[in-house]
């Protein structure tokens, strides 16, 4: 009995320490548990894959900041690698808010070294930031160069070969929004409903559960949810023989498994301790 009372009163810093250890050990001594692919991820992968040779571009939007980087940056890198390897033109858009642009730059820095033959302006364009949120989405339906004027580096968009072919959503095969907030809904409402451009989403695990309704109605083509979603996409491109770089999401899945087991254990332990001490007081 006293043991359970002590358990309930334990200093939370011991829990912090154990969580830290449970994360670090599988990273240092990986087991390599398999990552099974789920239908929403496979849907998105197949849709992007089918754009090869159609001349349509993928618009990858990094609507996330460093707070969700561990989950969403691996997704950005995996999707970029997929597009670059299959020669699918890419508009990399640094997001609806200014703090997100750096993430797009980071994704490029991590992926470009493996694709030295790519030509900027022809194979990919990096759009910077313009304020307006939903207005920017609506503006791109008319003209991307009209909305942005220049790319992130200051080049006039109407001088770039890719933008001459693709200046609005008509020649964009899919917009993939990677976001930890409600941006995917904004893209659906202002992009898909208004202009019919198809939307794919990569989201943090926090938001993934709430996007299933939009997945079922077809408003989202597919969805990558959390670190697992990123790991699944990494495995799909690895199977396709595409250079993957360091599989950050896949490496993290072992640690994820162990922490989840630990958390379930302490929830059960906490409930047992609570029930026993409650009975004792009665």
């Amino acid at each position: 009995m006293r043991f359970f009372e002590k358990i309930l009163k334990i200093d939370r810093r011991w829990i912090f320490l154990i969580v830290g250890i449970v994360v670090i050990i599988p990273l240092i001594f990986p087991i390599g548990m398999p990552v099974l692919t789920t239908p929403p991820v496979r849907s998105l992968y197949n849709y992007v894959d089918k754009l090869q040779g159609t001349g349509k571009a993928v618009m990858l939007v990094t609507d996330f900041d460093p707070s969700t980087m561990p989950e969403l940056l691996p997704m950005a890198c995996a999707i970029l690698r997929h597009c670059f390897a299959k020669k699918i033109p890419v508009y990399l858009y640094g997001g609806l808010y200014s703090a997100y642009v750096g993430m797009a730059e980071m994704a490029l820095e991590k992926t470009l070294p493996d694709f030295p033959d790519l030509q900027y302006g022809k194979d990919y364009i990096f759009l910077g930031y313009v304020p307006g949120v939903s207005l920017v989405i609506l503006g791109m339906g008319g003209s991307i160069s009209g909305t942005f004027n220049t790319d992130y580096y200051g080049n006039k968009l109407d001088t770039l070969p890719l933008n001459k072919m693709v200046d609005n959503y008509k020649n964009i095969g899919i917009v993939i929004d990677l976001s930890g907030s409600a941006s995917p809904e904004t893209w659906v409402i202002y992009g898909y409903q208004r202009f019919g451009v198809r939307i794919g989403v990569g989201t943090t695990a926090v938001s993934a559960a709430q996007y299933y309704p939009m997945l079922q109605t077809g408003q989202f083509v597919g969805m990558l949810g959390g670190l697992k979603g990123a790991a699944e996409y990494e495995q799909l491109i690895k199977k396709a023989g595409i250079p993957t770089g360091r599989l950050e999401a896949t490496i993290g899945m072992d640690a994820q498994s162990f922490v989840h087991i630990f958390l379930i254990f302490i929830i059960i332990l906490g409930n047992i301790a609570f029930l026993i001490t409650k009975k004792r007081k009665v």
């Binding site: 707070s67 207005l135 009209g146 709430q210 299933y212």
Partner: protein, 206 residues
């Protein structure tokens, strides 16, 4: 005038944008292109003035009144000025990029990663199966936590598929009900703003 002019503007523009959606005439499209692509975006650039003002006022007040931790406000202002000047003078050069990649990004990522520890502590102390509803919540959470990681398929082969079913049907049913409610609420709020019933965006005073 001080309240009526902004209310009138919101009213007119609100209805103009609703009707514009249903009018396919080229003039309507031209108006949309100019007003949305250019004018509203230009206006939204100036909104940042509010955020700068709040930031500078808060920290300079703290320094002036020597409140607790005022030295940290000096750090905030100096780092703001350094980052802004470094970026503008070097035209987003090396120092600016390095500060983003190795100071801002790690700091923000680490701040949010603290939540993992607090979630664990909260799960242990507060997550109790006090009644049927709480027990249902706990069971659903446990199943999802196990099923979404690799170890779940070792416990039961069908667990990942079962979790997918829970997410696609019972979870989605509730999320859809909530989403429809939210959609109706957003439309009601938008109408209230356009009709001048909701006026909190005008602030206090005359």
């Amino acid at each position: 005038m001080r309240r009526n002019l902004p209310l009138a503007l919101a009213f007119i523009l609100g209805f103009v944008m609703i009707f514009q959606y249903f009018i396919p005439h080229p003039l309507s499209q031209k108006f949309y292109d100019i007003f949305i692509q250019q004018w509203l975006i230009i206006i939204s650039i100036f909104f940042y003035i509010l955020s700068w003002r709040s930031f500078v006022l808060y920290h300079t007040n703290k320094i002036r009144r020597k409140k607790e931790g005022w030295w940290a406000s000096i750090v905030a202002i100096v780092s703001f000025l350094f980052m802004a000047l470094a970026g503008i003078i070097t035209k987003k050069g090396y120092i600016f990029n390095q500060m983003y990649n190795y100071v801002y990004a790690p700091l923000q990522a680490t701040m949010f990663s603290l939540l993992a520890f607090f979630v664990a502590s909260a799960a242990f102390r507060a997550f109790r199966a006090r009644n049927l509803e709480a027990t249902l919540l706990l069971i659903a959470a446990t199943i999802v936590m196990l099923g979404r990681v690799s170890v779940g398929s070792y416990i039961w082969k069908g667990l990942p598929d079962f979790v997918e079913w829970i997410l696609e049907y019972p979870n989605m049913a509730a999320q859809r009900g909530i989403r429809i409610g939210v959609g109706l609420g957003m439309i009601a709020t938008s109408l209230k703003i356009i009709l001048g019933i909701e006026r909190t965006y005008l602030g206090g005073g005359d």
